[in-house]
Amino acid sequence: MSAEPTPPTRCRPRQGSLAEEFRTTRWTQVSRAKADSPEGRHALAELCNAYYEPVAAFLRCDLRDADAARELAHDFFAHMLTGGTIAHAEQERGRFRSYLLGAVKHFLSHHREALLRLKRGGGVENISLNETEVPSVPDAGVLPPDAAFDQQWALTVVAHALEALQRECIAEGRSDFFELVKPWLTGDAAHGDQAALAARHGMNANALKVAVHRLKRRFRQLLKAEVAGTLDNPGLVEAEMRALFAALGG
């Protein structure tokens, strides 16, 4: 607190959650949109962009070849976004996660046939086990591809929510606070004594407690929003979260 009581800048109003802005599209919009509508395709493109990693993880697991996986992922998304597989698998429409997995498997099965035909025709491909760019999943070779997909999906969801939270804090000029406090997002016991931290940074201990509580609450909201964005029925958020948590369990 300064000696001169000049009021600092006022708090800016929050313009709706940034996660919502980032993903204003929803799976509901895609699944109910007609295949050829520009809105539907745009929505799908956004979702695909956000959930690229799980597809890549699945393909890596299945093909055991990072380069081939990357290429195929690219082809798959290109195919999807040109309206290739919108009309696929009605029963999977409740969850974008199930839908996307079904779609990539479907695509893969067609591609295998093409690959086989190619191999028979000549041109041996070098299969490399050097995984030069493994973003996240530690050992893709051990998990079954479906599990790898789900695990990476869960990871992606959490990562997105965390990024959204960080963006919000930065927009409010509180990036330092975010860095300081983020370890508590994994639990109260995670990083020692809040009171000591508050004292070290000249913050009011109670104010810190309240602020940490709020940050955790906001994270939870963003996480739920992220998950809800992939569901047709937002009422199934809790069930989906449980499934994702199980997928992270390894």
């Binding site: 607190m1 009581p5 009021p7 708090c11 051990v142 104010a207 309240v210």
Partner: protein, 501 residues
């Protein structure tokens, strides 16, 4: 899972493999686990009563929740105001752990409807019932008075007072019995005496609603003691013997027994023990009353009064009316009233009951000032109205109130909007001196709670957060801290009240 990639570490907390960058160095599994911890993080009501009123209020938009009146074995009661009708009501939230039966909801509705139909001047009326915020609730008549237990603790009743209370009690019980409803838990805590002198019976049939009465089960089979809870058998000391030994056979005569116990206690100041000494041996009363009390207390229901109305008839017969009743002044010293034949009927009038209640106030004003929850009496309360922009902390200590500011506009500062803070209606424009405001030093009553637990807090308005961030303890010189957080743009008015005992 074998770890063959260089980027893998294991989370120290959950041993899951840690990804390298995706989640800012934090374990995603722990992040998710923590985010999935329900309810408490959201600030939704925990399934623990009593709750702070601001957590209840959102679930009852039609009510203004004022304060917690008390906690009983079955739940918590709050005083509230019905906004549309502008009247006080009592909101009873049933403690979820008391809901023992899977078919609770259905029975609750049926029973509550039956209770709601009990419309009698001596029965606390049920206005509404339902489910909200994870609780079952009852909305009831608010009785501005106190229960007989508190009166008994405050001082002994005279025989006249006891005899004045019993007949209306019988009326209430008979009214309910005629409609097939048995109370099952008559005791002084459930008997209220309001300021106009009227007796009111509360919590009718709650025991049945809570399913603690065995709906199925073979007749004649005693309930195993380890399977019963307190409400199964009523309240020890007040419940009829058959409530323990033969719960399926319990009927309206159980209420007669409990009434007998209360009657005995009102007359003698003690509950009947094994020896069952007749009341006339303990206090100076008409010996014919012994018969009434003892018959109500018969162990065998067949030997008791078969109807509650018979108790009333007997009492009124014994207390015969006189043709020249002496005037009873409300300020009369009760201790000078002695039982005299022919004068007792006057004692049974409403005037006498008013005398009882007001005498109680006069004689034991100190105790009752704490016990009464009346809006017309002064009590330990601070009402605060403040204009908040950003974050502020208000401190209260003794007769002083001051702001410790944190962020955005200062309360009371021209740059911060130039609005005063109102303390109990008095406008205060805090001058700022370094980091704190110059305190408001005229707080009455002086803030001196007996313990941190005796402080209650109600947020009445304000779009952001306001909460107690620190309770008064010796360590902080008995200073209460209230934290405000208004995160929207601009400022908003916040109103809250703090009560203490």
């Amino acid at each position: 899972m074998s770890q063959s990639t260089p980027s893998s570490n294991a989370c120290p907390k959950c041993s899951a493999a840690l990804p390298s960058t995706a989640t800012a160095g934090l374990c995603p599994r722990c992040l998710m686990a923590e985010a999935m911890v329900p309810t408490q993080v959201e600030g939704e009501p925990a399934i623990q009563l009593p709750l702070p009123t601001e957590q209840i209020a959102p679930h009852f938009p039609q009510l203004e929740i004022l304060e917690c009146l008390g906690r009983g074995g079955m739940g918590v009661v709050y005083k509230a105001r019905q906004k549309t009708l502008n009247r006080f009501v009592a909101l009873k939230l049933l403690a979820p752990e008391r809901v023992l039966d899977p078919h609770f909801a259905e029975r609750f509705t049926r029973e509550a409807q039956a209770l709601a139909a009990l419309n009698h001047p001596n029965i606390v009326t049920i206005y509404d019932f339902g489910q909200a915020g994870g609780f079952y609730y009852l909305l009831m008549e608010f009785v501005d008075g106190m229960n007989l237990r508190r009166l008994l603790r405050a001082r002994k009743f005279t025989p006249e007072e006891a005899l004045a209370i019993v007949p209306p009690l019988c009326d209430a019980l008979q009214f309910a019995h005629d409609r097939g409803i048995v109370h099952r838990d008559i005791k002084p805590e459930n008997l209220l005496l309001d300021k106009t002198g009227r007796v009111k019976v509360a919590d009718f049939g709650i025991a049945k609603i809570l399913g603690t009465v065995n709906a199925s089960g073979k007749a004649g089979e005693p309930a195993a003691p380890e399977n019963t809870t307190q409400t199964d058998v009523g309240t020890p000391g007040y419940s009829a013997p058959e409530q323990k030994t033969d719960p399926q056979r319990v009927d309206s005569r159980a209420d007669v027994y409990s009434l007998g116990v209360v009657f005995y206690e009102l007359l003698t100041g003690e509950r009947p023990d094994g020896r069952l000494e007749p009341p006339s041996k303990k206090v100076q009363i008409d010996v014919r009353l012994d018969e009434v009390v003892l018959r109500a207390l018969e162990k065998d229901p067949e030997l008791r009064f078969q109807q509650v109305s018979e108790v009333k008839t007997m009492v009124e017969t014994i207390v015969r009316p006189s043709s020249n009743p002496p005037p009873v002044s409300p300020a009369a010293d009760i201790s000078t009233l002695t039982p005299r034949k022919g004068k007792l009927k006057d004692m049974l009038s409403t005037k006498a009951i008013i005398a009882i209640v007001s005498a109680c106030v006069l004689l034991v004003a100190g105790t009752l000032a704490i016990v009464f929850h009346s809006t017309t009496e002064t009590r330990n309360i601070i009402k605060i109205k403040a204009r908040i922009d950003g974050k502020d902390i208000m401190k209260i200590q003794g007769n002083k109130v001051w702001w410790e500011h944190e962020e955005a506009g200062l309360p009371g500062d021209p740059k911060g909007g130039n609005q005063p803070t109102f303390i109990n209606g008095i406008a205060w424009r805090p001058q700022w001196d370094g980091s704190n405001s110059i305190p408001f030093e005229a707080l009455t009553p002086v803030f001196n709670p007996k313990s941190p637990a005796q402080v209650t807090f109600n947020k009445l308005s304000g779009r952001g957060d306001a909460a107690i961030s620190e309770l008064p303890t010796p360590a902080n010189n008995n200073t209460l801290s209230v934290y405000f957080y208004d995160e929207e743009g601009g400022a908003d008015w916040y109103e809250l009240s703090i009560l203490w005992k």
